[in-house]
Subunit: 341 residues, 2 copies
DNA sequence: ATGAAAGCGCTAACAG
DNA sequence: CTGTTAGCGCTTTCAT
């Protein structure tokens, strides 16, 4: 038997019109039960698959969203992806992904390509520095949600999902202070990312509130090589006078590198130096010692981002292409005390 | 100015026909230079984006492939994904992904959905147990490449990419033997996955070749809870008489759990017990002590898989829908000796 | 070198 | 409840 490829052929087999078959298939309209049965039967018999592209061409959107992540260097992304994907599926959406950081300007390139593919919206975890492209997207009426990476000024203008990074920085530092640490270093992240600046602010304020003036010698800047560069920085600083007795890593992957360096120096964690991270990536619990960290609800952040995106898409459909006012979701975090502090 | 959405409008602006614009846009046919310029100019001016769906509807395929992974529990998947994505992009393909393991039967469900979306092919890292669905795909003329997870019998029937898992098991065990270990335990993986059986076979043969008969007490089966369950198994076995002096974990994530258990028992790695893994996931180097492991070229495996898929797609186009004979790519691996052995 | 026309497979008025 | 008709935006003969 010929492979049957269109609704029309089904129609012929059943002696009805194509519209009837269409109606049966997407159940938007009533069809006599007998006819319905016959059509369904024919569809099943023939193994017919309706062509979603045709429908999407007609309706102007493929049920697909695009997720942009910078890389997998940071393990938070797979967890966010899972959350996005789960909610997307539930709503009949498919997720395409794109890894941006490797090529500069990839964000915009991806955007252009995806728009040609009639994609319904974007979830971006990779915004870095220049966000003008993202504002342009929104201006063009394209739903966009930013996860974790965005600027304070974006609030009220763009949809975002994150934790309160200032508080996260504050709480972790405060915890270190309260457990008796005196010289607390911070391993800062990329300063073009606001979330790291916020965590840094939290760190400073927590220290000051405890009557400690932040010591510039303990404020470690992310080296040019990225987080791996912290390996050498730690090795150096620990041998100098005035070495820290605690290190606040502004992300778990940084903490991993730092712990590696400490181990190689035979420095005992947490006795000599406490280490705390932010993220609670799955592996943090398996480190030696298990890493104390501020747990971000990563999967949930992905889910929320997708829900917000869905809301935008729906609103847009109902309001003649207009986007709803931006939503800024801030999720709660937990301080997870383990053995590294 | 009205947002311009179709080739026809561009045509009007330039006083040419839609076909001409089409020809300019995809450069398949000659167009007078003057006309070409004019059209290109109009396109740029108007910010027009050709609708890929329309083209795809016409041509019967969206330049998109689907990548199925079981979950992110195992960190090898993000690395494979990166490889796939890189090559896909280079060839103008978009990657959609689907995480299967969570729902049973998800593989087939995804398959059906994706076929409706006119997807060009699949890369599957999640085949588990029953592969009949995958054979059906191939029978229906759909390009499919399996990465890592497949059965010996599939060779010659399905396209695959992997390392030589038997050798990987053999080499790691042999290394342990040669470094003087006497009682080498193996933490087996899911027995429905051939790759783990192969690694196990390699383990047994390496022992026998060294004149050691595998001891059933040292052959640890993956517990019902998945790899996390090894935590308790290790805790128990290490306290019993005849405890192992080395453990061969058939994947790095298992090694992480096992190391965690050993640390909690205050057992020193590698002095008391050596641990070796397979994968070389990025984090293996950061463990304490850094994990000795068989390095799979994960990203490269993803790249190769995508290349093979591309070859299938092309062959199919040139041969009236017929698929090429299956290709079985076996990539080399390296034993990476670090401090856990 | 370019235009006219047909059609990819589906949906959505509009009739009846 | 169902059929007819007219496209969605693009590509592709077939003419010219």
């Amino acid at each position: 038997m010929e492979q049957i490829t269109s609704i029309k052929e089904i129609a012929q087999i059943c002696g009805v019109s194509a519209s009837t078959v269409s109606r049966v298939l997407n159940g938007k309209s009533y069809v006599r039960e007998g006819t319905r049965k016959r059509v369904l039967e024919a569809v099943k018999q023939s193994g017919f698959r309706p062509n979603l592209l045709a429908r999407s061409l007609k309706q102007g959107n493929l049920q697909t969203i695009c997720l942009m992540v910078p890389s997998y260097g940071n393990l938070i992304f797979p967890e966010i992806m899972r959350g996005v994907n789960t909610v997307a599926r539930e709503h009949g959406y498919t997720t395409v992904f794109s890894i941006t950081e490797e090529h500069p300007g990839a964000e915009e390139a991806t955007y252009n390509e995806m728009r040609n593919r009639q994609i319904s919206g974007f979830i971006i975890c990779s915004a870095i520095g220049d966000e003008s492209a993202i504002y342009r997207m929104r201006e063009e009426g394209v739903p966009v949600v930013l996860v974790n990476r965005f600027k304070k000024e974006d609030i009220g203008h763009l949809d975002t999902v994150s934790v309160d990074n200032y508080r996260a920085g504050y709480v972790s530092t405060q915890y270190l202070v309260r457990s008796g640490r005196q010289r607390i270093a911070i391993a800062c992240g990329d300063p073009s990312l606001d979330l790291y600046n916020e965590r840094y602010r939290g760190y400073c304020d927590a220290l000051r509130d405890a009557g400690i003036e932040p010591d510039p010698a303990l404020i470690l800047q992310e080296p040019a090589e990225g987080q791996d560069g912290y390996y050498n920085i730690i090795k150096r600083i620990m041998l100098e006078p005035g070495a820290p007795d605690a290190i606040f890593a502004t992300s778990d992957p940084k903490a991993f590198v730092i712990m590696r360096a400490l181990h190689d120096l035979k420095i005992c964690i947490p006795r000599d130096v406490a280490v705390i991270g932010i993220d609670n990536v799955e592996l943090s619990a398996y480190m030696e010692p298990p890493l104390t960290t501020v747990a971000q609800p990563l999967t949930r952040m992905g889910e929320e981002a997708m829900r917000i995106l869905l809301r935008q898409i729906e609103y847009k459909r109902e309001h003649d292409g207009e986007l709803p006012p931006p939503e800024n979701r801030i999720l709660p975090f937990d301080l997870l005390v383990r053995q590294s502090t």
